[in-house]
């Protein structure tokens, strides 16, 4: 064996050993170092790491995962059926426990389902529908319920399976198909009621406006009548005063002229008048000039 051959051979062996004892861990994974099957340690730090060549490295995705199964039906305390779709945000937290108790992701999801969904149906069964769906914000309990379930199931999952449950949330709230028709019927009835209310309120407002206008008109006209009659009265009074002032200076002459004026009006061509020959007018005619005295 030449020196060169020895050199090359040792380089080759060195490479083989290095490839057996050096390994990389990416940012997305954990490495679990096992020695003849027995977990020795967990490496969470990404980068280049070393191990003994007789140890092996198992990699686990440590990223956040979403478990989003089909919706399930729950019964609330007030016996209402609800179809709720939940999702769970979870991660592998302790690879050593995970590999020993669960092994792979599908069975991890089954365990999660068992832990969480039993908690959910218990929790929803303890609440009225109001605490999930209500116009009164104070009544809503969904966040508190889910937070409690997240906390308790997280503890259990970590202890038993090495999983971390970051969040349990409601993705969708709905009703079972068979209940929907009832809701639609109720919605239609409600709409009908609201439509009627709109119409009635419109009528009410319109009537009020019309009545107000009528009243205003009556007020305006009667006030105007009052004022105009007052004005007319004042005019008449003033005229009367003027006449009175004038005529009272010579009542005799007034009586004469006014009476004669009346004759002009009272006596027309349909009137027959019988005059005595003795009258002042005819005296001169019948008795001669002497009667003029």
């Amino acid at each position: 064996m030449t020196r060169k051959t020895i050199l090359l051979l040792s380089v080759f062996i060195g490479l083989v050993l290095a490839s057996l004892s050096l390994y990389t861990v990416s940012e997305t994974e954990f490495a679990l170092i096992t020695q003849f099957g027995r977990p020795v340690r967990t490496v969470a730090q990404a980068g280049l790491h070393a191990k003994w060549f007789f140890q092996s490295a198992l990699r686990f995705d440590k990223r956040l995962r979403i478990y989003n199964p089909a919706p399930s039906e729950f019964l609330t305390r007030d016996k209402k059926n609800l179809v709720i779709e939940n999702y769970v945000a979870w991660r592998i937290e302790d690879p050593s426990r995970f590999v020993q108790s669960v092994g792979d992701v599908p069975s991890a999801e089954m365990r999660l389902h068992d832990i969480i969904w039993s908690g959910l149906s218990a929790a929803f069964g303890n609440e009225d529908l109001d605490s999930l769906v209500s116009t009164d914000r104070q009544k809503l309990q969904s966040t508190a319920i889910l937070d409690a379930i997240t906390a308790s199931s997280d503890r259990a999952a970590l202890q038993q399976y090495g999983l971390s449950i970051d969040d349990v949330r409601i993705k969708r709230l709905n009703l079972p198909e068979q209940n929907k028709q009832n809701v639609f019927a109720r919605m239609r009835a409600e709409r009908g009621r609201i439509a009627m209310q709109y119409r009635a309120e419109g009528e009410e407002q319109a009537l009020a406006i019309r009545a107000g206008a009528d009243r205003q008109k009556e007020e305006i006209l009667s006030t105007a009548y009052k004022e105009s009659e007052t004005i007319r009265g004042k005019g008449d009074a003033e005229a009367t005063r003027i006449y009175g002032d004038a005529y009272s200076k010579s009542p005799q002459f007034y009586k004469l002229t006014r009476t004669l004026e009346s004759y002009k009006k009272i006596l027309d061509d349909k009137t027959t008048i019988i005059l005595s020959s003795d009258s002042d007018l005819l005296k001169i005619l019948t008795k001669g000039q002497g009667a003029a005295k």
């Binding site: 051959t5 990389t24 861990v25 990416s26 940012e27 980068g47 990223r63 956040l64 995962r65 979403i66 999702y87 769906v133 116009t135 009164d136 914000r137 809503l140 969904s142 970051d166 969040d167 949330r169 993705k171 709230l173 709905n174 009703l175 929907k180 028709q181 639609f184 709409r191 009908g192 609201i194 419109g202 009528e203 407002q205 406006i209 019309r210 206008a213 205003q216 305006i220 105009s228 004005i231 005019g235 009367t240 003027i242 004038a246 010579s250 002459f253 002229t257 004669l260 004759y263 061509d269 009137t271 027959t272 008048i273 019988i274 005059l275 005595s276 020959s277 003795d278 009258s279 007018l281």
Partner: protein
């Protein structure tokens, strides 16, 4: 490997200056390859991108800005490039069915606070705020953003009345969901930043659409009725005001007419009365006679003697004759 198999050369000749041309050529090739390998670490980050470099899997450069850069070549360093500013779209409610994965179209039904069902479709837009988290913290950040928005929308809608969702609360819902969904996304450390939540469509279920339209119709009917009443009032009141003005004007003109006429009459009377007072007898006689001249020609007249009896039967017979007769009676006015 050829060098291993090649026949051993004498020890004296094995040192560099005397290396055979074959070996030198090999070294040349190796050094070229090595140089090429080193050069392959040069990379360019485009204007709309940000880069991230990992070394043996560990992040060493969390943010590399646009430009030309160098990283150690494969397999040591690895370069990721992300379009960080690009707005990514995520539809919530009524997604198109995924035929490849055989997933059915997700329902767009939401349950409102007053227990009505509504179809809502929301589009969320987000960008990458932290490339490191976006790449490594979650398996599917895109799905997580969608779920966060959806769950917050469900929660928000669950305490809002259906009418508010359909009308006034739309904008409030959008901004509330934007804020709370961002909190959720942040709690998952997904490195995504929500840019907008937009309610694309919100409608009652088809089974109740007719009834909802009925409400809209009723509302416009009510508006119409009220408008008509307003029209009536707007017509009536000004008209009444006009009539009132007219009444007052008439009253004023009546009153001033009366007064003027009275003043005229009075001054007429005063003037004549002043003359009368100078010679009352003559004036009264004159006035009397003038009046008689005016009055008597129109009349049917019977003149009777002051002392004779009057036979009234003749009045009926002689209708239009003015018979000269004698008789008493000053004046009388039997008709016809």
């Amino acid at each position: 490997m050829s060098i291993l198999i090649s026949p051993p050369v004498p020890m004296a000749a094995s040192v560099e200056p005397a290396s055979p041309p074959q070996s030198r050529r090999f070294r040349q090739i190796v050094s070229y390859i090595f140089a090429l390998w080193l050069i392959s670490g040069v990379y360019i980050v485009q204007t709309d991108q940000q880069g991230l470099v990992t070394q043996w899997g560990r992040v060493v450069e969390p943010r590399v800005f646009p430009g030309i850069h160098y990283a150690l070549p494969w397999p040591i360093d690895k370069v990721y490039k992300l379009k960080v500013r690009e707005l990514r779209r995520r539809v919530v409610g009524g997604e198109i069915p995924d035929t490849v994965l055989g997933r059915p179209a997700s329902s767009s039904e939401f349950f409102s606070g007053d227990q009505n069902l509504l179809n809502i479709r929301v589009v969320a837009q987000y960008s990458v705020s932290n490339p490191r988290d976006f790449l490594f913290a979650a398996q599917s950040p895109d799905q997580i953003v969608g779920l966060a928005v959806e769950s917050e929308l469900v929660r928000r809608v669950a305490h809002t009345r259906v009418d508010d969702i359909l009308t006034t609360q739309k904008l409030a819902i959008q901004s509330d969901v934007l804020r709370s969904a961002q909190t959720v996304v942040d709690s998952y450390r997904t490195g995504a930043l929500l840019a907008s939540i937009n309610i694309e469509s919100v409608s009652p279920p088809p089974e109740t659409a007719e009834a909802f339209r009925g409400v809209a119709g009723a509302r416009s009917d009510a508006f119409r009725i009220v408008n008509e009443a307003d029209g009536y009032a707007n017509d009536l009141v000004p008209r009444a005001r006009g009539q009132a003005d007219q009444l007052l004007d008439q009253a004023h003109s009546y009153s001033s007419g009366k007064i003027n006429r009275a003043q005229g009459d009075a001054s007429h009377f005063n003037a004549v009365a002043a003359e009368y007072s100078k010679s009352p007898n003559v004036t009264s006689t004159r006035v009397y006679l003038e009046a008689m001249e005016l009055v008597l020609p129109r009349l049917k007249k019977l003149i009777v003697d002051a002392n004779s009896n009057l036979d009234l039967s003749m009045i009926g017979k002689q209708d239009n004759s003015a018979a000269p007769a004698t008789g008493p009676g000053t004046e009388g006015a039997p008709q016809r």
